[in-house]
């Protein structure tokens, strides 16, 4: 009697374990866990769509100071895309990153304004024609185009064995995420189609994640990767900007610098003022004589 009861308990227990394993293996099947996500945009694809051998610009750029600058993310996608492909980075994130870059260059004497250009103003493979439209619309002279290339890898380590239990998938960091981001800002004089200078920024974010939170953590890592790359981009942009100023000073034939009309001031008392003073003096002279 007792033996039959204990064997019933044992059979029940084995059934439960089998059921748990079945459910667990259904949710978290072992596939080696490797995953790669890539998102990128290209300045060359945007500016020279379908051109294998673009012609170099022939005119010397003329920069009229202070400059009105536009800054935008290059839309991802090629000439065949009618709308920008999903870039993996939200518009709000893009806008915040561009604003960070813009804030660093505001208040400089040779920069009158920096406009953040919304992504909707640029179309994939829009080329210089698209930039000319934006130039007319926003009244800018120079544009800084920001392109990026972000790759995310997810690998599983030995802790991922714990995913066979449901709790382990929540607790143990059996995934290793690696996010590598490269950003590049290229600054173009729109009328002359001249590349003035460029600056890169890169970052690498590595972090562990439990299976359930892998996607959530990858999104956070992506944002952090862009953020860190932007910080480096800003530093490099400042250096490149100074180098560019030196280059302009040392080789004036490379870029022509002009000052915009209306920013020149003259100290003048003027003819009417002198005449008014002379008239006053005459009144005083007559008053003294009387």
């Amino acid at each position: 009697m007792n033996r039959s009861r204990s064997s019933r308990w044992l059979a029940g227990g084995l059934l439960l374990v089998a059921a748990a394993l079945l459910i667990g293996s259904g949710c978290f099947s072992w596939d080696g866990g490797r995953r790669k996500t890539e998102r990128s945009s290209s300045v060359v694809t945007f500016l020279y769509p379908g051109q294998n051998d673009p012609l170099p610009p022939v005119t010397i750029p003329v920069l009229r100071l202070p400059l009105r600058v536009g800054i935008a993310f290059v839309p991802s996608g090629g000439a065949d895309s009618r709308v920008a492909a999903f870039s993996g980075i939200s518009e709000a994130q893009k806008s915040a990153l561009l604003q960070r870059v813009a804030d660093q260059f505001k208040g400089r004497d040779y920069i009158q304004s920096i406009e953040v250009i919304p992504s909707t103003y640029l179309r994939p493979a829009g080329g210089f024609g698209n930039l000319d439209q934006v130039r007319s619309l926003l009244n800018i002279d120079v544009v800084a185009l920001v392109a990026y290339d972000q790759v995310q890898f997810t690998d599983q380590n030995v802790l991922s064995l714990a995913y066979w239990t449901i709790v382990g998938a929540y607790v143990f960091h059996g995934n290793k995420n690696d996010t590598q981001t490269l950003m590049e800002a290229v600054v173009y004089d729109i009328p002359s189609r001249h590349l003035l200078f460029r600056a890169p920024g890169a970052s690498r974010v590595q972090a562990g994640a439990a299976a359930v939170y892998v996607d959530q953590n990858l999104r956070a890592d992506s944002g952090r990767g862009f953020d860190l790359a932007t910080t480096e981009l800003i530093t490099n942009l400042k250096t490149q900007l100074e180098d560019f100023r030196e280059r302009v000073k040392n080789s004036p034939g490379e870029v022509k610098i002009e000052h915009k009309a209306g920013y020149t001031g003259g100290g003048a008392l003027g003819g009417l003022f002198v005449i008014a003073l002379a008239a006053l003096g005459l009144v005083r002279w007559l008053w003294r004589r009387s």
Binding site: L65, D109, H259, G265, G266, G267, A268, L269, F273, L280
Partner: protein, 205 residues
């Protein structure tokens, strides 16, 4: 009545107003040099790039001959007169005013890229002459108050309108810079009243 109508007389050491001439003659000479404005005018970007002397030399170059002549028409008579009345203060003003005006333009008007002209210094000299005459306490104080009033109206009108008042530039893209006149008048007031304030302060001490 005749005694009441006297203005302040020449001070000790007053002779030839050489300081005024030292200011006026280089301005006339530089008018003959076509590249003077390019090389010597106040240019904000160049000043920030290390060519600090442009803050000083910018006063001695002009955009046109009429621009120079109208400024000299105020500077030379007013300068010669006040230099006879108060030579030391006038010479101090001629040393201090160019730097103060240039520094004010750099600090307070970042949109002003280029500036040229003696008018800031001329306004300073005219204001110093008026302050000196008013301090003498003679009967024609109304005249000097009116001169200061005219200067104040010109500065206020240019600040308010953003275009030249009682003046005209051949090149319409050149804007007036009332800040230069304001800084000049403030400089003249400082030079004129500092000595009096120091005396009072010492007397109290």
């Amino acid at each position: 009545m005749a005694a009441e109508l006297k203005t302040a007389g020449p001070a000790r050491g007053a002779g030839v107003p050489w300081a005024t001439l030292l200011v006026a003659i280089p301005a006339i000479a530089l008018a003959a040099w076509p590249r003077a404005v390019d090389v010597l005018a106040y240019d904000r970007l160049q000043v920030l790039d290390g060519q600090w002397w442009r803050m000083l030399t910018g006063h001695w170059v002009h955009f046109s001959v009429s621009h120079l002549l109208w400024n000299l028409a105020v500077l030379v008579p007013a300068g010669a007169w006040v230099e006879r009345l108060s030579p030391r203060r006038t010479r101090v003003l001629f040393v201090v005013a160019p730097a103060v005006i240039g520094g004010s333009l750099l600090a307070a008007d970042p949109t002003l890229l280029r500036y040229a002209g003696l008018s800031g210094i001329a306004a300073a000299v005219l204001a110093l002459l008026a302050f000196t005459q008013l301090s003498a306490g003679h009967a024609d104080r109304w005249f000097w108050r009116t001169v200061l009033g005219l200067l104040a109206v010109k500065i206020a009108a240019e600040l308010w309108l953003g275009r030249p008042a009682l003046a005209h530039f051949a090149d319409s893209s050149i804007r007036p810079v009332p800040l230069a006149h304001l800084a000049g008048v403030a400089c003249a007031a400082a030079v004129h009243f500092t000595r009096q304030l120091l005396r009072r302060w010492r007397a109290r001490g």
